[in-house]
């Protein structure tokens, strides 16, 4: 089937949850409430690194309306975590950052809960803190003195304050450096960035008569949350039910446990339903932001600008717990390799503990950090060699069948097409149309995360279909995309497909709304379910129509065999009476491609599935006095494999670029002496409608072998290239590269001043 013959897939159809969302009917986790519900709040450390000598909650417990207080002493002593099991619900004997949870209170109102927090007395004894990740690498101070006793994934290599260290090595980089035409070394840094979802993390928990706790929350990963909660509560997973009524954005910030454990533990303690919702201040001081990083890159080239060898080190600041840091740091190595012929590589990642907020997996973890360094350095080298930056990239990009950094083979490669289309659209031939104005380009590749998906699909007696998936619709339109695939395969309209809410007790497993995988993987599971439903319907129709199965097809909501036909609705009704109804379980898994394990060490994601390719180009002006950047135009050419719904693909591109512009120019959780200085949404500067230009999307379709109809992952890539593309355009406009994010007007003005003096 080609895209042109699709009736439902590939079309700009409205999302299934749109009407609920524009009328206020859509229920989000923040809207959820139960009769008799208590309100929970969390007491957080005011010290960056300190022993906790005493916690006295007796005054707080005496306040009328306080129903329960818990601290570390009241709960199972469990350490949890994805890569390293270093995390606890509350600070145990020591507080590791300002914002570290110390205790939680449930009360009949939020006001009473807050009064109770203020009445809890904590006695601290300060310890010397570590805020700088490079200092933490050298220091004798241990943020986790018992790190050796923690369990971790076997692949993770740890040492002292290092939570994870990975390497990619290809060929002999040292030898290549020795005989290169030129060698360049640069250092870049990037800042801590909040995911910025508009619905705070929130959970309501209630225990039933069978000892099952139900948690209504806004997680992106209900099954991972179920597993982690079961560990924390010391229960079998079957006694934890996680359900997601609706979720107001996530962007990777809601992958891991946020407040669900506080709600569940307080509900157990009080035997009442308890709701816990983060405040804005907690979001900016104690959520799961994108890590700050330092990237050191050394690159050798020949006279023509071919990349001969590259070595590099990324230091990722995890904060107080490893969180997603080890994996994020390791992924940076593939991003640093880029969509380029690898040459010789010697890349190393280091994820390091500091006494700051622990971090997470914000959209394309490591992508923008590593790409900013790598792609700005390409421009710096091009400038030094007198090459056009686009031409230098075109000389180095991978072609079909070239090996990637892990020794895997690049397939359905479109990077050259993306670069040329983005460059043409921005008017690359004229890079400096006027003084103070410049154009920049940057490109990257990114994985489509694997993991398995299951769906149940049943056909209802009115001929409609119900799709039961464990994947959360976080706003991308991914589930509408999967429903389009299902409707296409069953000859239904999109409006015939109803999607249920996510409930771990009822839905089949899904690896979760992460890693640009939802439409890809749930879509594949829908293909499998549709194939099984066709088999069931054709068998039933064979009896009804007295026609051979091999003559049958689905057409316009009917099974058709020659001149005979029977409606899907009729078959569903017959099956209900005779066979328990039409229902199918579809599953999908994308196996990782073959690679060379000798190249990759201690890497939790050693090879990328179904990579996508993309290029961004920007035209901007820099105020020569103040350094203020105004983006005139922004173009993205992104290979999506097959555009299942172009409207929502554009939505992903436009939204991802806006986040990338924020990271490039204004967003930073600013720490001073371990304290966040801008823990509110006025001082933490996310782009408003006044700051984002009209982002232009060019959708490139180079079909993949593994995705539904050839689709590739879409959601994460758009936020990868903006810092590099914008950095390169600032350099084209001003002659200087700000090498640290965010590239604020202040930094740009300072760089221009240095250049002029």
């Amino acid at each position: 089937m080609s895209a042109h013959t699709h009736r439902v897939a590939g079309h700009r159809l409205p999302r299934r949850d749109g009407v609920g969302k524009v009328t206020g009917k859509h229920v989000y986790a923040a809207d959820f409430k139960l009769p008799g519900m208590l309100y929970g709040r969390v007491l957080r450390s005011t010290r960056a690194h300190a022993l906790i000598k005493k916690i006295d909650a007796s005054r707080a417990a005496a306040i009328a309306g306080v129903r329960g207080i818990i601290t570390s002493a009241d709960i199972p002593q469990i350490r949890y975590g994805t890569a390293v099991r270093d995390t606890t619900v509350f600070a145990t004997d020591r507080a590791l950052f300002i914002g570290h949870a110390i205790a939680a209170v449930a009360a009949t109102s939020l006001e009473i809960a807050e009064r109770a927090l203020a009445a809890i007395e904590v006695e601290y004894e300060d310890l010397p803190p570590l805020f700088d990740p490079e200092e933490a690498l050298k220091s004798d101070i241990r943020i986790h003195p018992d790190w050796e006793t923690y369990k971790a994934l076997p692949i993770i290599s740890r040492n002292r304050n290092i939570a994870g260290q990975a390497r990619i090595r290809v060929g002999d980089a040292e030898a290549a450096f020795a005989k290169a035409h030129k060698v360049y070394e640069h250092r870049f840094s990037t800042a801590l960035q909040h995911p910025g979802y508009t619905e705070p993390r929130v959970a309501t928990a209630d225990w039933d008569a069978n000892g099952i706790v139900t948690v209504w929350c806004n997680t992106q990963l209900p099954f991972d949350t179920q597993t982690t909660l079961a560990e924390i509560l010391d229960l079998p997973a079957a006694r934890v039910r996680v359900t997601v009524p609706g979720i107001g954005g996530g962007f990777g910030g809601k992958l891991r446990i946020g407040v669900e454990h506080f709600a569940a533990l307080l509900a157990r303690k009080t035997a009442r339903p308890v709701k816990v919702m983060s405040t804005s201040e907690e979001e900016l001081t104690a959520a799961l932001p994108r890590q700050a990083s330092i990237v050191l890159l050394k690159t050798a080239v020949d006279k023509e600008g071919h990349l001969l060898a590259r070595s590099g080190r990324i230091i990722v600041d995890c904060g107080a717990y490893a969180g997603s840091g080890p994996g994020t740091a390791a992924i940076a190595l593939q991003v640093m390799a880029g969509p380029y012929k690898p040459g010789a590589l010697a890349f190393e990642s280091v994820a390091v503990y500091t006494n700051k907020v622990h971090s997470g997996s914000f959209r394309a973890p490591a992508g923008p950090m590593a790409n900013f360094a790598m792609e700005c350095q390409i421009d710096m080298i091009a400038k030094d060699l007198g090459l056009d930056p686009l031409e230098m990239r075109l000389r180095n990009v991978v072609k079909e069948g070239d090996p990637g950094p892990s020794g895997e083979i690049h397939r359905s490669v479109s990077i050259e097409e993306c670069l040329r289309k983005a460059a043409d659209a921005i008017g690359w031939h004229d890079r400096n149309p006027e003084p103070g104005r410049g154009k920049g380009i940057a490109c990257s590749w990114w994985m489509t995360t694997g993991g398995s998906s299951g769906v149940y699909v049943k056909i209802n007696p009115d001929g409609s279909a119900t799709l039961v998936s464990g994947a959360v619709e976080i706003g991308t339109g991914a589930i509408t995309g999967a429903a389009q695939i299902l409707a296409e395969e069953l000859s239904l309209d999109l409006t015939d497909v109803n999607v249920t809410g996510v409930d771990t007790q009822a839905a089949p497993f899904d690896y979760g709304a992460q890693g640009s995988r939802t439409t890809f993987s749930v879509g594949n599971a829908c293909l499998a379910a549709a194939a099984e439903l066709r088999r069931q319907m054709f068998e039933l129709a064979a009896e009804q129509l007295e026609a051979p199965i091999e003559d049958m097809k689905l057409q316009d909501k009917h099974v058709v065999a020659g001149n005979k036909s029977i409606s899907i609705a009729e078959l569903a009704r017959i099956s209900r009476l005779a066979g328990g109804g039409l229902i199918a379980h579809g599953t999908a898994i994308s196996p990782a491609p073959a690679y060379d394990p000798t190249r990759v060490q201690n890497h939790p994601l050693p090879v990328w599935n179904t990579p996508s390719y993309h290029a961004h180009a920007v035209d901007l002006s820099v105020d020569q006095a103040t350094g203020k950047v105004t983006i005139n135009r922004y173009v993205v050419a992104q290979d999506v494999g097959y555009a299942i719904n172009p409207t929502y693909i554009e939505g992903q591109i436009e939204g991802g670029v806006a986040q990338g512009i924020g990271q490039a120019l204004s967003e930073e959780i600013v720490y001073q002496d371990g304290r966040v200085m801008n823990a509110n949404l006025t001082d933490y500067k996310m782009p408003t409608a006044m700051d984002v230009p009209e982002i232009e999307s060019i959708i490139v379709e180079c079909r993949s072998a593994a995705g539904p109809y050839g689709a590739k992952g879409v959601g994460e890539p758009p936020c990868i290239e903006p810092p590099a593309a914008i950095g390169n355009a600032i350099a084209a406009a001003t002659g200087c590269w700000p090498n640290s994010l965010p590239m604020t007007a202040e930094k740009i003005a300072a760089a221009m001043q240095v250049q002029h003096s």
Binding site: T23, K25, T198, G248, T279, I474, E650, T688, A689
Partner: protein, 164 residues
């Protein structure tokens, strides 16, 4: 408890609510009247998701004390249209793909409605729309399709106004 009676009209219906003096309009709408379409986030008038119309003008309900709106008329997202009778703005937001997670959308639509109502018959430029909605943060969309939606709805409203 120091409760007092508040009389307000919400979406055309009169309500008498017993409130505490520190309660905000947002708390009254969500907790007492059940208008959950009015969203809750920063509680500091920084993000705009709690926007409602107070006597037709967009305001942040999270920092307005409920006691201050005695006798006033409030419009929430539930008051401008329902699934069977969508307001042109609601229709255009769906049509233009302006909705992703949707959490900011009630506030965004009401902000846009207040702006269009203040400028009857006008077809605002994209820059004017940007300025009008700049007080409401959206992290999903990058705003382009929201601007498309407001422009589309403004055109349709102006056209239907011209016909009448």
């Amino acid at each position: 408890m120091n409760r007092k009676i508040l009389n307000i009209v919400v979406n055309g219906e009169s309500h008498q609510v017993l409130i505490e003096p520190h309660w905000t309009l947002l708390q009254v709408l969500r907790n007492e009247i059940g208008m959950m379409g009015t969203k809750e986030n920063c509680l500091e008038a920084e993000c705009g998701v709690c926007t409602v119309l107070l006597d037709g003008k967009a305001i942040n309900s999270c920092i307005l004390l409920a006691g201050q709106v005695e006798g006033c008329s409030i419009t929430t997202i539930e008051g401008i249209g329902d699934p069977e009778h969508l307001h042109p703005l609601q229709e255009a937001f769906i049509e233009c793909g302006a909705v992703q997670c949707g959490y900011c959308i009630p506030g965004m639509i009401l902000t846009a409605k207040s702006f269009l109502d203040e400028n009857p018959g006008c077809r605002p430029s994209r820059d004017e729309i940007r300025e009008a909605i700049a007080g409401t943060l959206c992290r999903c969309t990058g705003y382009r399709k929201i601007i498309d939606a407001v422009a589309t709805a403004a055109d349709r409203i102006a056209l239907s106004g011209a016909k009448q």
